[in-house]
């Protein structure tokens, strides 16, 4: 089914960017400048919308003409492309964007035609749905697990690997005791934050 892969929703938004010949900096360039400075990884605004698996904001300039025998075509305007793969339904996700990263949403979409602002959540949702197109391809790692399940699985995988390295060759009784202790620690370990790096220090402590 389009837009849905198990519990994961694929959202694609195409928002036409304003065309203002009188502006000092054209809206599409102003948007590029803003996007280029957005923090990434764990400081990304989308890390705050914690159901997000993957999000990308891209300025689509035009169709590139590559020469004969292609025919020359152009888009009607430049577009902001927003791709997001997230857990749950669309309404909840848009409401979370409005609640958790309203400044980012306004700063990005203010360059787009017809954007009503995020303060009026109903109008914002209606606008985004109007710009939505069907999604049929998902980010490669989407496997019907939530972000939190995925983080827990990565944490478990890294910690178990470190445990094995540390205890390979131990006697069965030593191994059993160490494993019971390890499982206790692992079960109590806090869930890693979105975009966390599960580095050596992190897993060694558990193992």
């Amino acid at each position: 089914m389009a837009n849905q892969s198990g519990g994961v929703y694929g959202l694609t938004i195409l928002s036409p960017i304003k065309d203002d010949p009188n502006s000092e900096v054209s809206p599409n360039l102003a948007l590029r400048i803003y996007l280029a400075k957005l923090p990434r990884h764990r400081n990304s605004p989308f890390a705050k919308v914690s159901s997000t698996h993957f999000a990308r904001l891209v300025v689509m300039d035009d169709v590139v003409y590559v020469g004969m025998p292609a025919c020359e075509e152009h888009l009607q305007s430049k577009y902001l492309v927003f791709e997001s793969n997230f857990d749950g339904d669309l309404d909840t996700y848009l409401e979370r964007m409005a609640a958790e990263i309203p400044e980012t949403v306004d700063a990005v979409w203010k360059h787009c035609v017809g954007f009503p602002g995020v303060a009026d959540v109903a109008a914002f949702k209606a606008y985004m749905k109007k710009c939505q197109i069907e999604t049929t391809f998902f980010f490669a790692d989407v496997n019907d697990k939530t972000v939190q399940q995925t983080l827990r699985a990565l944490q478990t995988q890294s910690a178990v690997t470190a445990f094995i390295v540390k205890h390979q060759g131990a006697s069965p009784s030593e191994l059993q005791a160490a494993f019971a202790h390890f499982m206790e620690k692992l079960n109590k370990a806090p869930l890693p934050a979105p975009a966390a790096t599960l580095g050596k220090e992190f897993v060694d402590e558990l193992a």
Binding site: T161, A162, I164, V165, K166, Q168, G169, K200
Partner: protein
């Protein structure tokens, strides 16, 4: 089909010479006499002609860095048409290659760190006296023309173990299997070389995967300098001096070998995908089999399609990472544009397993690669398959022996419930191999050398 002219192609491009000793002279070109030197050198260059009249006593080949070509005064439009990665040189590509930390230029030999090498002369010989004689002749030629000076010299040679010439490297593995076949390159081909066809047979790769001027696997001509005559029959060479920490390797293998219930030698075979005697574990997973090693119908003739779980050959084993054959599906088509031809040779004397050894000892491998596109072939293999594991679904895991691990690497050995073939995790990986320098070179044809010597390169 491409018809090759072996008299115009440097022999080193078409074949490994299997001589016992070699010396790589690292040159600085002197612009005043550079072209005269090249002109007089041409007669000494070993071409790809067959040695039906008997093997020569020595061979000589030449290659240039971008700096060298500038000093030889190639026309600016020709210089500017070389591929970007060659123009930049290997040091500038460090971030892509993961040449960081212990592999960074801080740890390179000064001649490489300072990017002062203009040209490489590869001299191979049947004996050390012949090697010395040939190198002395070449130095005389340089002095006589005032065209170049030797600023570095690297000896290399096959490891002699218990009086016998071997094809082993310092960790004890038998090396040098499985260079690809190319259309038009005449040699004794073996099934398992070249590319996999949909019907399961093997065929030579397109000539353009090895040399400029010919169609590659995409049916395109590789990116090449202008004019065509300058580029035709040439290739690009990667030179990397790789120091081997033999003490660290032996200690690691001994320690983990005690924990691995399949035994030490089987564990070693899992690192590479071959037992140390060369037996491919995809063919013979449980024991060394000299009959398989000697059998040219078998020793590179295997696939991974029936071993997708890696219980015979681990998914992250060196030979499987760097030549995944059919492991990624699509009849192996995903690997045909990522193949490289290797011309490696060890340096430093062999230290027997029962003798004390230190990481500081002179042990290593001069790793040389021939490919039509350093960017598409060598750099891809190095970045994606050596220093990263995602294509093989091994996450961030790097190549066990070659990886720049920095003490935190791991390597997964897939296994079964059989105690002789258990699953095992190799953790705490150190850098078993460290980079000591190198650069990117262009290996011109005989025609191109003549054009450079005569200053007749005409890009118009």
């Amino acid at each position: 089909m491409s018809k090759l002219d072996p008299t115009d192609i440097q022999g080193f491009v078409l074949r490994g010479y299997t001589f016992p000793v070699a010396r790589y002279l690292l040159l600085q070109i002197v612009p005043a006499g550079g072209r005269e030197f090249i002109g007089k050198l041409i007669d000494q260059i070993t071409t790809g002609e067959r040695w039906d009249q008997g093997k020569p006593r020595t061979t000589v080949n030449v290659a240039f860095t971008f700096r060298g070509l500038k000093k030889l005064d190639l026309p600016e439009p020709s210089l500017q048409s070389f591929p970007c990665e060659f123009v930049q040189g290997m040091k500038a590509r460090g971030a892509i290659l993961c040449d960081t930390g212990l592999n960074s230029p801080d740890h390179w030999e000064p001649v490489w760190r300072d990017e002062s090498v203009d040209a490489w002369l590869g001299v191979y010989a049947e004996s050390l006296p012949e090697l010395d004689r040939q190198c002395a002749d070449l130095e005389k030629l340089m002095a006589g023309t005032n065209g170049a000076v030797v600023i570095g010299s690297q000896d290399a040679g096959v490891l002699v173990i218990e009086g016998k010439i071997t094809t082993k490297e310092h960790f004890g593995f038998t090396d040098g299997f499985g260079n690809p076949d190319y259309v038009g390159v005449v040699r004794d081909t073996q099934p398992g070389q070249g590319k996999l066809m949909s019907n399961g047979s093997w065929a030579p790769l397109a000539t353009g995967e090895l040399m400029l001027g010919y169609a590659d696997e995409a049916g395109e001509l590789p990116v090449a300098p202008i004019p065509h005559l300058l580029a035709n029959n040439s290739t690009f060479m990667v030179y990397r001096k790789m120091h081997q920490n033999v003490a660290t390797f032996r200690k690691y293998l001994n320690e983990k070998g005690k924990l691995y219930s399949g035994g030490k030698e089987k564990l070693a075979s899992k690192f590479i995908g071959r037992f140390r005697d060369g037996t491919p574990i995809e063919v013979s997973p449980d024991k060394c089999d000299p009959a398989v090693v000697a059998n040219k119908q078998l020793n590179v003739n295997f696939k991974y399609g029936s071993d997708l779980d890696g219980v015979r050959c681990p998914i992250g084993a060196h030979v499987r990472r760097t030549n995944p054959r059919d492991a990624f599906g699509f009849d192996g088509k995903l690997v045909n544009r990522r193949r490289i031809t290797r011309r490696g040779l060890p340096y430093g004397p062999h230290t027997p397993e029962d003798q004390p050894v230190s990481d500081a000892d002179e042990h290593g491998l001069i790793f040389m690669v021939m490919n039509a596109s350093i960017f598409r072939q060598f750099e891809f293999v190095q970045q994606q398959w050596i220093e990263y594991g995602n294509d093989a679904r091994q996450g961030n895991d790097k190549d066990m022996l070659m990886g720049n691990h920095g003490g935190v690497g791991k390597f997964m050995i897939q296994g079964t419930a059989d105690p002789a073939n258990p699953p095992f995790v190799c953790g705490g990986l150190q850098n078993f191999v460290e980079l000591r320098g190198g650069d990117y070179f262009w290996v011109p044809s005989i025609t191109a050398l003549r054009m450079i010597a005569d200053n007749s390169v005409d890009p118009r």
